[in-house]
C-alpha cells in the first residue's frame, strides 16, 4: 500500500513536471507575441487621431482636391447600459431628434443584446455641421438636467436627483475621419486621380504623390497610472503636404468643354457610336515643361469613381471580347453568330457600367498611358534632325510625283497626283511624304534613331503622374530597314504617347531645349510653408537654336500659308500667329482604313508660349483620312479661348468672318467666371493598334493620307485688313473704329483705355 502511495506521489510529481514544462513552453514559444497582444489589448482606451491628407491646388490656388473632417457615430453599449439602463431611452430620444435616419429600434435591440460591447458604428461620415448641432443640443440638455439635479439635491430628494438623466454618460461619441472631396467633380479627373478608402490614392497625382499627400496618424493613449487613475497622453497627427500644380482650372475647363462639344456633335455622325475611340488634349508651356491642362473623354466624377452613371462608356466597348460584350448587353453568344446581331448597336452605357475593364479604361489617362502611331505630326522632328545633323541645308528642292518606290514598295503621298517640285518648307506645309522620305534617307538610319531617342520617344518623360507608359517596345531599333526609315519619316511604324509628343514638340520649337513635362510646382506643408519647389528641369539640348527657328518657320507655314498651300490653316485662332503640324496616321490593321488624326499647334509662331496638342483616335467621320479638320478645329476652338486668358496678344489681322465667329464663340467663354465644365473626355480605348513597329507600309502605301480639309468655298478665308491702335497696339473695330480689348474684343471704355496707355 505504501508502495502504491509512493507511486501515486511520483505520478503527481510527473504531472507537475509536465505542467511546468507546458508553462515554460508558453513563455518560450509565445512569450513575445503574447506580451505584444497584452499591450495591444490595453489600447482599448486609445484612439487614433487621423491625419489630414494634403490638398491639391492649381496654379492659381484653386483647390482641386481636399480632405474634409467627417464623423462616425459610435454607440458604446457598455457605457449606455450602466445604472440599470436608465440612460438608454433618453439617449435614443436625443439621437432620434438629431439623426432622423437612424433606426432607433435596431440600436435599442443591439444595446439590449450586447450590454458588454463598447464599439458599434452606426452612421458613417456625417458632416461636421450635424455633429455640431448634436453637441449643441447635448450641451443644452446637460445644462438643464444639471440644474434640475442640483435643485432636487437642495430639496433633499437625493434619489430623484440621481435618477435625472445625465447625457454625459450616454455612450454616444463621434469618431473622426477624413473624407476626400473633389469640388469640381469631374474636372481634370485623369490628372488628379482619386482616393476611395484608406488614404490610398489611385491614378494620377493622388497615386504618384500618395506618400507626400499622406501624413502620419496621431494617437491618444489612455492608461492607468500607478494610482490606478486614467491618464491621457496625446500624440498629434501630422497632416500631409499640399501639392501646388501647374494645372490651370480655367484652361482645363476650356479644354474639357470643347472636347465635350466635339464628342456631342460627332456622336453617330457617320457610324452608330461615339465621336471617336479616344480624344486627348495637352496644353503646356514649351518653355518650362509645365502642364496647363490635360484632358480626355469621357470624364468621371472623382467623388464617386465607381459610379459610371452619365459617363459615356460606349467608346470602350471594343475593349471587351465578343463573349464578354454579349454577356454585358444580355445577348447569348450563340444568337450573335446566328443572327449576325451588331453588338455595337446594342451597347449602352448602363450595360457597361459594372465592368472592371471598362472602369479601368475610364480611369486611365489617355494622354500618358496609351501609345499610337503619330503620323505626320512627326515630320518636323525628321526635318529638324536632318537640319541639325547637317544632312540637309534646308534649301533643297525635292520633286514629288505622288509616290516613291522604297525597297520594292510604292509609298504614296496623300496627294497621289504629286505636288511637283517642293522646298523643305513647302514639303512640311503640304505634308508631303515623298519629301520627308527623301530627307530621312539623307539623314540615315543611325542619325534618325539618335534624334528620335533624344526627343524622348520610347522613354518615360518622367511626368509626375501614375501610369505613364514609355512605349519602349514599339519604337524602332537598329534593326530598322530602309522601308522602316521611309515610313518613320512621316510618323508611321512606331508608337509614341501624347506626353512624349508634347514634350518633344516643346523642345522642337523653344530653341531645342528639352524640358521634363511636369505638374507639381511646389509642395507645401500643412502650415503653408514651402517644403519643396520644383524648378523647370531642362534635360538636354536636342537641336540647335537655329534649327529650332527654322522648324518654327516650317510649322508656321503649315498654319499661316494660303489655305491651298497648307494643311493646317483651319487651326488658326483669329488674330494669332500659330505654328503647327497636322497628322493623319493610318491605324493597324491598315486594311481597316481607320485613322488617328492629330494636330500640334503653338502660339505665337515666332516665340511659342503655349502649345496645344490634340489627338482624335478613330474619328466618327465618313472620310477619316480627310477628317484632320476635326483636330485642327478642336485645337482652334480651345486656343481661341485659352490665348486671351493667357494674356497672349493677337498680332494678326482678323477678317470680318473671323470677327463674327469670335463674337459667337465669346458668348460661351469661361474667362472671368469660375464655372467649370463637368464633362470632358477620357483616355484610351481599343488597342486595335498594337503598333508592330516595322514591316507594314507595303502596297497599300497611302500610309499617311494627309489632311487638306475640304472646305466649302463660302467658308473660305477672305482677307480683311484690321487696323491697330498705334498707342496700345490693340485692334480697332473695323466698322466703328473703336479700340477693342485684345482679350475680349469688346470696345474698351475710354477711361480704361487711358489707363492702359503707356
Amino acid at each position: 500500500m505504501q508502495k502504491k502511495l509512493v507511486v501515486l506521489f511520483f505520478m503527481v510529481l510527473l504531472a507537475f513536471a509536465y505542467l511546468i514544462i507546458r508553462r515554460a513552453g508558453i513563455n518560450r514559444d509565445n512569450g513575445e507575441a503574447y506580451k505584444k497582444q497584452v499591450l495591444a489589448q490595453q489600447s482599448y482606451d486609445s484612439t487614433t487621431l487621423p491625419f489630414k491628407r494634403g490638398s491639391i491646388e492649381d496654379r492659381n490656388g484653386t483647390v482641386l482636391a481636399y480632405s474634409e473632417k467627417v464623423y462616425n457615430l459610435i454607440v458604446d453599449a457598455k457605457l449606455l447600459s450602466v445604472d440599470k439602463g436608465v440612460h438608454i431611452e433618453p439617449t435614443l430620444d436625443i439621437l432620434k431628434k438629431s439623426f432622423a435616419e437612424l433606426d432607433i429600434d435596431e440600436i435599442r435591440s443591439y444595446v439590449e443584446k450586447n450590454p458588454g460591447a463598447s464599439y458599434k458604428k452606426y452612421l458613417k461620415r456625417i458632416e461636421s455641421s450635424r455633429v455640431e448641432n448634436y453637441n449643441k443640443f447635448m450641451e443644452e440638455t446637460i445644462a438643464a438636467n444639471n440644474e434640475r439635479r442640483d435643485s432636487l439635491r437642495k430639496d433633499g430628494k437625493t434619489e430623484e436627483a440621481d435618477a435625472v438623466y445625465d447625457p454625459a454618460k450616454n455612450g454616444i461619441w463621434f469618431e473622426e475621419e477624413y473624407k476626400r472631396k473633389y469640388p469640381y467633380n469631374t474636372l481634370a479627373c485623369d490628372v488628379i486621380g482619386f482616393v476611395q478608402t484608406g488614404n490610398e490614392g489611385q491614378y494620377g497625382l493622388e497615386e504618384y504623390y500618395n506618400s507626400i499627400l499622406n501624413g502620419t496618424n496621431g494617437r491618444s493613449y489612455g492608461y492607468l497610472n500607478a494610482d490606478g487613475t486614467l491618464t491621457r497622453s496625446v500624440k498629434e497627427a501630422e497632416d500631409g503636404y499640399t501639392l501646388i500644380t501647374s494645372l490651370d482650372t480655367n484652361i482645363q475647363s476650356i479644354a474639357e468643354k470643347h472636347i465635350n462639344e466635339f464628342a456631342e456633335q460627332n456622336r453617330n455622325a457617320y457610324r452608330t457610336g461615339p465621336a471617336a475611340d479616344n480624344v486627348g488634349v495637352i496644353i503646356m508651356n514649351p518653355n518650362n515643361g509645365e502642364i496647363y491642362a490635360m484632358a480626355g473623354y469621357p470624364v468621371y466624377n472623382l467623388n464617386e469613381p465607381q459610379n459610371m452613371e452619365g459617363v459615356d462608356l460606349t467608346q470602350y466597348a471594343g475593349l471587351l471580347s465578343k463573349e464578354d460584350l454579349a454577356e454585358a448587353v444580355g445577348v447569348s453568344a450563340n444568337s450573335i453568330s446566328e443572327n449576325e446581331i451588331d453588338l455595337m448597336e446594342l451597347v449602352t452605357n448602363e450595360s457597361l457600367s459594372d465592368n472592371a475593364v471598362i472602369k479601368n479604361a475610364v480611369w486611365k489617362n489617355y494622354c500618358i498611358a496609351d501609345t499610337y502611331e503619330p503620323g505626320s505630326t512627326m515630320k518636323p522632328f525628321t526635318v529638324a534632325a536632318a537640319l541639325d545633323a547637317a544632312s540637309i541645308t534646308g534649301n533643297e528642292v525635292y520633286t514629288c510625283n505622288g509616290a516613291l518606290d522604297v525597297g520594292g514598295h510604292t509609298i504614296h503621298c496623300h496627294n497621289r497626283f504629286g505636288d511637283g517640285p517642293l522646298s523643305v518648307k513647302e514639303g512640311v506645309a503640304k505634308s508631303c511624304n515623298v519629301v520627308l522620305m527623301d530627307i530621312a534617307f539623307a539623314l540615315g538610319k543611325q542619325e534618325w534613331l539618335r534624334y528620335n531617342r533624344n526627343f524622348g520617344f520610347g522613354e518615360y518623360t518622367g511626368i509626375d503622374l501614375a501610369g505613364e507608359t514609355s512605349g519602349a517596345s514599339n519604337v524602332f531599333t537598329e534593326k530598322m530597314g530602309q522601308t522602316d526609315l521611309a515610313v518613320a519619316s512621316f510618323g508611321q511604324g512606331f508608337n509614341v504617347s501624347m506626353i512624349q509628343m508634347a514634350a518633344g514638340y516643346g523642345a522642337l520649337v523653344n530653341g531645342g531645349k528639352y524640358y521634363e513635362p511636369h505638374l507639381v510646382t511646389r509642395i507645401l506643408n500643412s502650415e503653408g510653408a514651402i517644403v519643396k519647389e520644383y524648378e523647370p528641369r531642362r534635360i538636354k539640348q536636342v537641336i540647335s537654336e537655329g534649327v529650332s527657328a527654322e522648324i518654327r518657320e516650317d510649322c508656321k507655314a503649315v498654319v499661316m500659308s494660303e489655305p491651298e498651300e497648307c494643311t493646317g490653316w483651319t487651326a488658326r485662332p483669329a488674330g494669332y500667329s500659330m505654328g503647327g503640324k497636322t497628322g493623319t496616321a493610318e491605324k493597324l490593321p491598315r486594311s481597316a482604313k481607320n485613322y488617328l488624326i492629330s494636330f500640334m499647334g503653338f502660339v505665337p509662331a515666332d516665340q511659342p508660349e503655349v502649345i496645344c496638342y490634340v489627338v482624335i483616335d478613330h474619328p466618327n467621320h465618313p472620310d477619316q483620312s480627310n477628317s484632320t479638320r476635326l483636330a485642327t478645329l478642336l485645337c482652334k476652338s480651345i486656343m481661341t479661348e485659352v490665348l486671351p486668358y493667357l494674356n497672349i496678344f493677337p498680332t494678326e489681322p482678323i477678317t470680318e468672318k473671323e470677327r463674327e465667329e469670335l463674337t459667337d464663340a465669346e458668348a460661351s467663354f469661361f474667362i472671368g467666371s469660375n464655372a467649370v465644365s463637368d464633362n470632358s473626355v477620357s483616355e484610351n480605348s481599343a488597342e486595335e493598334e498594337g503598333g508592330e513597329a516595322s514591316g507594314q507600309t507595303g502596297e497599300e502605301g497611302e500610309a499617311a493620307g494627309e489632311d487638306n480639309a475640304m472646305v466649302p468655298v463660302d467658308e473660305m478665308y477672305t482677307p480683311n485688313v484690321i487696323q491697330y491702335d498705334p498707342g496700345t497696339g490693340f485692334p480697332l473695330d473695323p466698322n466703328t473704329g473703336e479700340v477693342l480689348d485684345p482679350d475680349t474684343l469688346q470696345p474698351i471704355d475710354e477711361n480704361v483705355k487711358s489707363d492702359l496707355e503707356y
Partner: protein, 395 residues
C-alpha cells in the same frame, strides 16, 4: 472513545493493522503542514486582492470586497481545521454514513427554492451563507469511503464488492453532475474514491486497465470532436473541447478566457511584471480571482512565482503522503490519501486548464482561488489530515 471498542471494530472489519496495545494519542500535529497551508492561504489572499480589486471597483464594490469575503471564509475554515485536528480521527468512522447522506441531501436541496444561481450556474445553497454542496460532498465522500473501504477490505477484492463501491460513488457523482451541472466536481469525486480504492486494493492491474480504457474513451471523444464527426454544437462541453484544441479560432467567445489566461502567462516572462502589476486582470481575464488566478500569478510573479507555488503544493502533497504512509492504521491512511488525492487533482487540473493543457472547466486552485465553500472544506480536510498526523507515534 474506548480502545476496546476500537479494537473490536477493527477486527470486525478484518483490518490488517491491529491495534496492538492501548494507544494514547499524544503525538504532535504536523506543524510543517500547518505552516505550508498558512503560507498558501496568506499568499492566496494577497493574490485575490491583487486580481480582484479592479473588477470589484468596476462592478461598484469596495476594492477589498473579495479579499474580505475570502478572509471570513478562511477564518471559519481555520477554526474548523483547528477543531477537527483535535479529534481522534477514528470518530470519523462514526459519522461516515451521516456524511454520505448529508452530502446527497445537500446536493438534492439545490433543486429546492434554497438553491442559488451565481454566474448562470445553479450550484449553491442559500443557508444564510452560500454553500456549494459539491465541496461538502468531496469531504463527505473522503470520510465515507475511507470508512467503507476500511470496513469492506475483503469485499473490495472481488468484482462484486468493487461494483458495489463504484455504485456508491457513482450516485453522488452523478448527482453533482446532473443536479448542479458540475462535471469537474463529479470527476474529482469519482477520481478521489477510485484512487482510494486503488490504494487499498492489493491488486493494481484492473485499476490501471480501467483508467487506461477511460483515458482512451476521452481521447476518442476529443478525436471525434476535432474531426467534426460529431458537431460540437451539441453541448457547450463539446464546444469547449473545440475551443481547447484551437483557442484562437474562438477568441471572442469560448476560447476567450483560456486565450486571455495564456496571454497573461506568456506576458509574465521569467520574473513577472511585479506584484499588482498585471494588466490582464483589468477586465481581460474574466473572473481573474477565481479559476484563472494562476495566470495572474504567472503574469505578476513570472515563471519564478509559478514554480514557487507549484513547489509549495508539492510540499503540501508530500506532507500528506508522509502522513498517509505513516498513519496508525489503514483508515487513517485512507483518509489522508483521499485528502492528498483531492489536493493533487485540483492543483493539477487547475494548472492544466489555465495552461490550456486540458479543456476549460471550472476547477479552483486550492487556498488561492476565491471561493468560500471551497476554502472552508479544504481546511476541513487539512484538519482531518492533521488529526491523523497527531496519531503518528514518534519513534
Amino acid at each position: 472513545m474506548d480502545t476496546a471498542r476500537e479494537v473490536r471494530t477493527a477486527r470486525r472489519a478484518g483490518g490488517l493493522k491491529k491495534l496492538k496495545k492501548k494507544t494514547k494519542i499524544k503525538g504532535q500535529v504536523d506543524r510543517s503542514l500547518i505552516f505550508i497551508v498558512l503560507f498558501l492561504i496568506v499568499f492566496g489572499l494577497i493574490m485575490i486582492y491583487s486580481a480582484s480589486a479592479y473588477s470589484a471597483v468596476r462592478s461598484g464594490k469596495e476594492s477589498n470586497y473579495y479579499l474580505m469575503s475570502q478572509l471570513r471564509a478562511t477564518l471559519l475554515g481555520l477554526v474548523a481545521m483547528a477543531w477537527l485536528s483535535t479529534w481522534d480521527y477514528h470518530k470519523f468512522r462514526v459519522i461516515a454514513w451521516p456524511a454520505y447522506v448529508v452530502s446527497l441531501v445537500l446536493i438534492a436541496l439545490v433543486l429546492t427554492p434554497l438553491g442559488m444561481t451565481i454566474n448562470g450556474a445553479r450550484r449553491w445553497l442559500n443557508l444564510g451563507l452560500s454553500l456549494q454542496p459539491a465541496e461538502v460532498a468531496k469531504v463527505g465522500m473522503i470520510i465515507f469511503f475511507s470508512a467503507y473501504v476500511y470496513g469492506n477490505l475483503k469485499n473490495i477484492q472481488h468484482l462484486k464488492g468493487i461494483i458495489k463501491t463504484m455504485a456508491l460513488v457513482a450516485l453522488p457523482s452523478l448527482m453533482v453532475y446532473g443536479i448542479t451541472d458540475n462535471l469537474s466536481s463529479a470527476i474529482i469525486i469519482f477520481s478521489i474514491v477510485y484512487i482510494m480504492l486503488f490504494i487499498a486494493s492489493p491488486k493494481s492491474a484492473p485499476y490501471i486497465v480501467i483508467a487506461g480504457v477511460l483515458f482512451l474513451m476521452a481521447a476518442f471523444v476529443v478525436y471525434v470532436i476535432a474531426h467534426n464527426i460529431i458537431p460540437a454544437e451539441l453541448s457547450y462541453r463539446l464546444g469547449r473541447i473545440k475551443a481547447w484544441l484551437d483557442p484562437e479560432a474562438y477568441a471572442s467567445d469560448r476560447g476567450f478566457q483560456t486565450l486571455q489566461a495564456l496571454y497573461s502567462i506568456g506576458s509574465g516572462g521569467v520574473l513577472g511584471k511585479g506584484l499588482g502589476q498585471s494588466t490582464q486582470k483589468l477586465g481581460f481575464v474574466p473572473e481573474a480571482q477565481n479559476d484563472m488566478i494562476f495566470s495572474i500569478i504567472c503574469e505578476e510573479l513570472g515563471m519564478f512565482g509559478a514554480l514557487a507555488v507549484i513547489l509549495l503544493f508539492i510540499m503540501l502533497i508530500y506532507h500528506l503522503l508522509m502522513i498517509a504512509t505513516n498513519a496508525q492504521d489503514l483508515f487513517g491512511s485512507l483518509l489522508v490519501t483521499g485528502v492528498m488525492t483531492h489536493f493533487a487533482l485540483q492543483v493539477i487540473l487547475n494548472i492544466a486548464v489555465v495552461t490550456n493543457t486540458l479543456p476549460n472547466t471550472g476547477i479552483t486552485l486550492p487556498f488561492i482561488s476565491y471561493g468560500g465553500s471551497s476554502s472552508v472544506f479544504l481546511l476541513t480536510e487539512i484538519g482531518i489530515a492533521l488529526s491523523v498526523s497527531r496519531s503518528i507515534r514518534m519513534t
